[in-house]
């Protein structure tokens, strides 16, 4: 007996003798399962459309006897040679430094951060790091709900009202470092403007953009400035189109606060045929285009992680750590010795506090 009926989307199912519908549904279920496994294993190579984690059971320094288990929630892929990559190095350092077990989940959407962090806690991780201010609410929530673990949150502020006793805050202000980058960019600009290109309009980043323009003015009072945002730290296609337009509008040097999207900027510069210097953050990216790369900076994440985790081991489970003046310059490329010396001099003055950089202009970009 053959029975036919309409199901989803109007297709016909045959449930009679010799029917294959059950087999098909099983195949579909298997397909979805395989797909999800591959998606989970693949995670995100270039940037964060999907997410992945190192397998929890095999993470960290195998065979360690330490009770210190650190899990990190990352905003992008560790392969970005930037924000997440740099922090993954610092996390790895905790294995040798403190015999800790470590793991991370990368490319985590903000909406999933709480759930993923809770999963880490369920798997026995007792120190959870949230590596972006975008995760701050999740970090706060996790700290309040789990008094037995310690949470480290990269934050926009060094203190908050009613800070939980198991919450560390790490603040990384971009403004001081961006001031130095703006200064360097103005010295080598191949056009009438120094341009800042950031990922997302966040207060800390807006302050960095303002500092960049002021650093540029300090080097060259007649230089113009322009600021723009791609809307995404990791989308090189958007960055490519935006950069091309900015070059046509007179940008002679770029200061970037982008991760994977940096490659789109470099591609646009190459396509323009002009030698337009660019400066980045978090890693020496001279390999992308040695002919135009000017240099960059990184915060001292190794020191930050070492200090904060060290204090947690010593039983201090709450506090704050300021990375802002602990940034380091990468080698400066494609400039004369005189220019290099001038940049180094300004860098030292910013670090020493001889040059005060305004980090409070977080509301909007003001072209000086």
């Amino acid at each position: 007996m053959r029975v036919r009926f309409q199901y989803w989307f109007g297709s016909t199912l045959d449930t009679g003798e010799g029917s294959t519908w059950m087999i098909r549904w099983k195949i579909a279920v298997v397909l979805v399962s395989v797909a999800m496994v591959v998606a989970a294993c693949g995670g995100s190579g270039g940037t964060g459309a999907s997410r992945s984690s190192r397998p929890l059971s095999t993470a960290g320094g195998g065979g360690t006897s330490s009770d210190l288990r650190i899990g990190e929630i990352m905003t992008g892929p560790v392969s970005d040679n930037s924000w997440n990559y740099r922090q993954s190095i610092a996390l790895k350092l905790m294995e040798s430094k403190y015999d800790a077990k470590t793991t991370y989940i990368e490319s985590v959407p903000v909406a999933d951060a709480s759930q993923d962090a809770q999963q880490l806690v369920s798997n026995g991780y007792n120190v959870i790091i949230f590596n972006s201010p975008a995760f701050f609410n999740s970090a706060l929530q996790l700290a309040r709900q789990n008094s037995n673990i310690t949470v480290i949150a990269v934050s926009a502020a060094l203190s908050i009202p009613d800070q939980p006793r198991n919450l560390w805050l790490e603040q990384a202000k971009f403004a001081p470092a961006d001031y130095v980058m703006g200064y360097a960019a103005a010295l080598v600009a191949n056009g009438p403007k120094v341009c800042y290109l950031g990922g997302v309009e966040l207060p800390n980043i807006i302050a960095g953009a303002n500092a960049t323009l002021r650093g540029a003015k300090a080097a060259n009072a007649s230089i113009g400035g322009e600021v723009n945002f791609t809307g995404d730290f990791d989308d090189p296609a958007k960055a490519r189109l935006l950069t091309s337009t900015m070059i046509n509008n007179g940008c002679g040097a770029f200061v970037l606060l982008l991760d994977d999207a940096t490659k789109g900027v470099v591609q646009a510069i190459k396509a323009s045929g002009k030698r337009i210097p660019w400066f980045s953050y978090n890693s020496d990216q001279s390999s992308l285009d040695p002919a135009t790369y000017g240099g960059g900076y990184t915060f001292d994440w190794d020191q930050a992680y070492t200090t904060v985790v060290g204090k947690i081991r010593a039983g201090i489970r709450s506090g704050s750590y300021d990375l802002s003046t602990g940034f380091k310059l990468f080698p400066l490329y494609n400039m004369t010795n005189d220019q290099r010396n001038r940049v180094q001099d300004v860098y030292k003055k910013v670090i020493d506090g001889a040059i005060k950089v305004d980090s409070t202009m977080t509301d909007k970009v003001v072209i000086p």
Binding site: T12, A35, V38, G42, N228, L241
Partner: protein
């Protein structure tokens, strides 16, 4: 803002740059849909093609000649994934929406997996070699037009005419007629001796390969890098463009041109209207996509057997 801000040669040249992958990917989906196959894995196919092309190019040495192998590898992954999708939807007759979504999840992860296995996490920033700009002698020097049309790259010069030929074949050849008829009334086509399964297999493989090749453009022409976000975004926009084009070639091409133009104009607007938040302009392509869907979907007439599995033995 003046005329040149909207229609300057730089803006229009950027529009061509942005439109080419959309044209290739959307034509791939159109080919599949005309034969009755809705492939919701399109964005994932673009992603897999982009990752494969870039990774293979880089692993082989990242020199000019390796670009050829990178592009060929994207063809191979497109064919393999196309055959897999065809086997599941045509031979096994799994529902196309279910299979498409499963394949999308798979290919979303597959691209990243290929990148990680081939390149991994490196301390050195990775950039793929890209196809150089190729100014066509004589034509590239024509004022205004030269920069817009004749200052691109080999991929563009080959892809645009090839897509034109494919669209002509789809709508003006016997092969195209059989393919479109398979998407309208596969039973009737079967009745006159045309193998519907074969037609759908071929269309899916062609469509998947084009999607994958569109991905290769992103990594080996546009950005020199692999970004799942860019790839997947392009795939979904291309899917919308097929509806925008109402499954017809000229509206499809107009839609591609419009979206490419909006992509190129957005940075210009962002710079010139700096008092308006850049986030607003970044939404433009998506707002347009939504508006287009609302405006055109009710009038659009899709192939009658779109997304329906064909079973020769079933009696109605």
């Amino acid at each position: 803002m003046g005329f040149s801000d909207f229609f300057g040669s730089s803006v229009l040249a950027a529009a061509v740059l942005a439109a080419v992958p959309l044209l290739v990917i959307a034509t791939g989906e159109l080919t599949m849909e005309l034969s009755g196959t809705l492939n919701l894995a399109l964005a994932g196919l673009v992603n897999a093609g982009s990752a494969t092309a870039g990774t293979v190019t880089y692993v082989l040495g990242n020199r000019g000649i390796d670009l050829l192998w990178g592009i060929l590898s994207s063809v191979v992954i497109g064919v393999v994934l196309g055959v897999a999708f065809a086997y599941v939807t045509v031979t096994l007759r799994v529902h196309q929406v279910t299979a498409g979504l499963a394949m999308f999840i798979l290919t979303s992860g597959l691209g990243a997996l290929i990148y990680r296995l081939g390149i991994g996490v490196t301390s050195r920033a990775v950039q793929f070699e890209t196809l150089p700009q190729l100014r066509i002698p004589g034509l590239a020097n024509i004022p205004y037009i030269g920069k817009i049309l004749f200052s691109h790259n080999l991929y563009t010069y080959i892809a645009v005419p090839a897509i034109g030929i494919l669209l002509w074949l789809l709508y003006r050849s016997n092969w195209g007629l059989r393919l479109r008829a398979s998407g309208e009334n596969p039973r009737a086509v079967d009745g006159v001796g045309v193998d519907v399964f074969r037609v759908r297999y071929i269309s899916i493989v062609i469509g998947s390969t084009l999607a994958s090749l569109g991905g290769a453009y992103l990594s080996l022409v546009l950005t020199g890098s692999y970004s799942p976000e860019s790839a997947i975004e392009q795939g979904w926009i291309a899917l919308v463009l097929v509806i925008f084009g109402q499954w017809r070639p000229i509206p499809l091409c107009l839609g591609v041109a419009l979206f490419g133009y909006i992509e190129a104009l957005t940075p210009e607007l962002t710079l010139k209207l700096s008092s308006v938040s850049s986030a607003l302009f970044l939404m433009l392509p998506f707002v347009l996509a939504l508006a287009v869907l609302v405006a055109t979907f009710r009038r659009a007439v899709e192939p009658r057997s779109l997304a329906k599995t064909y079973e020769r033995e079933v009696r109605f």
